[in-house]
Symmetry: C2
Subunit: 417 residues, 2 copies
């Protein structure tokens, strides 16, 4: 079976100038991968007609399917539509289907259709409309000699809806798709080099049809096995056997598989065990609570959090002893232990997690440098602590601390089995 | 003056498969833009030797400077180094400078140099070493006939440090750089089409040397003016005049300029006025606190936050009246008002902000659908509320609610002037 190759094109000066982070191509890659389309290249180019047309032509040479995001706004700097019209020798005319859908959308939102927005329904006459139920810019589907170009809006939630509801089902009908099978093993508490040494012999024994990749993250790590064979059941079986033979070497570091983030795995374990969680965050400033509550259904096990950013609140609201802070400082094993124990009690939770540290870039001393962070995990009146020596970067420190806290909690949840 | 053109290449199957979000190219774009290097294209390709070599050759044709990230790990799936060696007809040999730096780095971290990590110091003999003080993979600088290729590790904080400390100063020495001048105006509370209609006449009057772009975000919007002339003082003066003539049309929506995010602007205003802030977050689950505390120095005006995710905690810890929740529900103007008033009082802050809503994807009813969110801003015992009707997407709703809360607070801070 011929592999279907795709390229993703993102259009916009704002991306090349570093003013907007493109998360669309990332998300689309994952979606296409899941349906067996192989993304072979991603390209970002600016709002320049000649440049855009050149990128279209290059992509068409290499790929069967070209997905384009961005440049569909109603304003004068948006060039995707005129470029597609020119590339496909097409004229831009008012599309009655698109206009009717646009009017319905605006009515449903209780808004008027102004002059500029109305222009969103003018489309190249050789495209088919891809409806956008979430916004004003509809998508366009072009097919010329079996090569498919699809243009979608750059607003992430509009694009995602359009991909899932309209574009992907249509791709699955338009192409005869093979199957790529991935298995991801997720680990925390071990570095890439150490892991590679541990599994070197196992890695050497992998069959040629299976590819291995190391994907380091912030404080955690993914191992991805990709099977390139063509029978899904056989592929699954082969990968399962390889994973089984790997497990004894790495078991203690594995927290999950595939899409299971640490917060999802923790949530599942808490729910299974009927346990609840509360957080007292100082240096992480609400980030851990945000990660926990980004999981739908987290109210089943998450009671709540306190971010006592000022020391007075650690004392008055969280009940940390003043003497503890005076004697040991807010960034200390003693303070973070009381924080974890107290938040569990105060918020009526089984588990209490706490963080206190110097996230940077200011506030470090010789004794307590930037990147010194204490974390604690309390359950049943007992507390486990860890001291972290992290980086000079505030954002990195907050992220690494969250993963360290999740890992501490995960270890406790698994140890209780 | 000849414009220096750059291309960014990101290497890694994990990126094409959608398993790792590439934030490096985004950040590098912003850095290069600031020193007058024009990024003309960004390309991502997979871990395939022929593919990588093809991308190198294409980029060299179009650009003066090629920056490469990723694929420098010590494991077998990392191909950047062998590809660069082949592309530059170079042999990989142990580099004594790199080895000495690697040994020093490992010693400083109290870690041993294992066999795989040691290989990180083996480099193509035609490159110059770019030191990495933050990790084990050093960078490589190649110069052939005036075309420069630089390879850097994919770990974001290592790459960023290397760019700022080593690579950018060297780029500035190696090329004669022109100046691109940008001015960004940041707005909240108005959509792209409405803004475009408002400023249509002004936009038509822009000189040809000035480019305008609309950059929509999550609940806010940026207008970017780019001057393509060549004299910095003249460019600044011209842009300043254009901004002055624009301001009367859009003043009420403008909250900041250039890199000033809403949380930075709010922090600055709170600090200037000597006011403090506390948060009671329900549906936003700690995300607003995270945004506030991601700003270094936020402890000067941020007292703390409570995330009373369970209704019992809203009552017991935050002092919301049980009757209010029973009568109106947790997602109501009445509850969110009490939350805002009570958190300000309890945490001793001037301002109290609160959120309560149905973030989704579950939990909606006919009367209170997913996306219904109430927010409140209290100061001096008075409270202002807003009802939001947002999307079906949990993540989007959390982000949009944060921006709506920031906008509410910003309006209050500016109105008090």
């Amino acid at each position: 079976m011929k592999k279907i190759l795709a390229e993703l094109i993102t259009i916009g000066d704002e991306i090349l100038y570093g003013q907007t982070l493109d998360t669309n191509a990332h998300w689309m890659s994952g979606q296409l991968d899941a349906i067996g389309v192989k993304v072979v290249r991603r390209t970002t180019c600016g709002d320049q007609e000649e440049e855009i047309l050149q990128v279209f032509a290059e992509a068409e040479q290499r790929a069967d399917l070209v997905l384009i995001t961005g440049g569909l706004g109603p304003t004068s700097d948006d060039l995707t539509k005129p470029c597609l019209a020119r590339y496909f020798d097409s004229e831009i005319v008012m599309n009655q289907q698109a206009l009717a859908e646009l009017e319905a959308y605006m009515t449903s939102r209780g808004r008027e259709l102004n002059k500029l927005t109305r222009l969103q329904a003018a489309l190249p006459d050789k495209c088919e409309v891809v409806s956008n139920d979430r916004g004003t810019a509809c998508g366009m589907w072009f097919n010329r000699n079996g090569k498919v170009f699809v243009s979608m809006p750059g607003v992430p939630h509009e694009m995602r809806y359009m991909m899932v509801e309209k574009v992907m089902p249509r791709i699955q009908r338009a192409f005869d798709l093979p199957i790529i099978y991935h298995k991801i093993i997720r680990l925390a508490g071990i570095g890439e080099s150490w892991l590679a040494e541990k599994i070197e012999q196992w890695e050497k024994s992998l069959p040629k049809t299976v590819k291995l990749a190391y994907l380091p993250g912030y404080g955690d790590l993914k191992l991805r096995l990709t099977s390139l064979a063509s029978d899904l059941e056989l592929q699954k079986k082969e990968i399962d056997q390889l994973v089984s033979s790997l497990m004894p070497l790495i078991q203690e570091y594995v927290y999950g598989y595939d899409d299971d983030s640490l917060e999802v795995v923790i949530g599942r374990l808490l729910k299974e065990k009927g346990l609840t969680l509360a957080l007292a965050e100082s240096c992480t400033g609400g980030y851990v609570a945000h990660r926990i509550t980004s999981v739908a259904g987290s109210s089943a096990y998450f009671n709540g959090a306190m971010v006592p950013y000022q020391n007075e609140l650690k004392i008055a609201q969280l009940g940390v002893k003043e003497a503890t802070i005076v004697t040991y400082g807010a960034v200390s094993e003693e303070t973070v232990s009381e924080m974890a124990l107290n938040i569990a009690q105060k918020f009526g939770a089984d588990y209490g997690l706490a963080s206190s540290g110097i996230a940077g870039p200011g506030g470090g001393t010789e004794e307590k440098p930037i990147g010194l962070i204490w974390i604690a995990c309390a359950i049943g009146g007992k507390v486990t602590t860890r001291k972290l020596n992290l980086t000079k970067d505030r954002d990195v420190n907050i992220k690494l601390t969250a993963v360290a806290l999740f890992t501490l909690l995960h270890q406790s949840l698994v140890a209780n089995d």
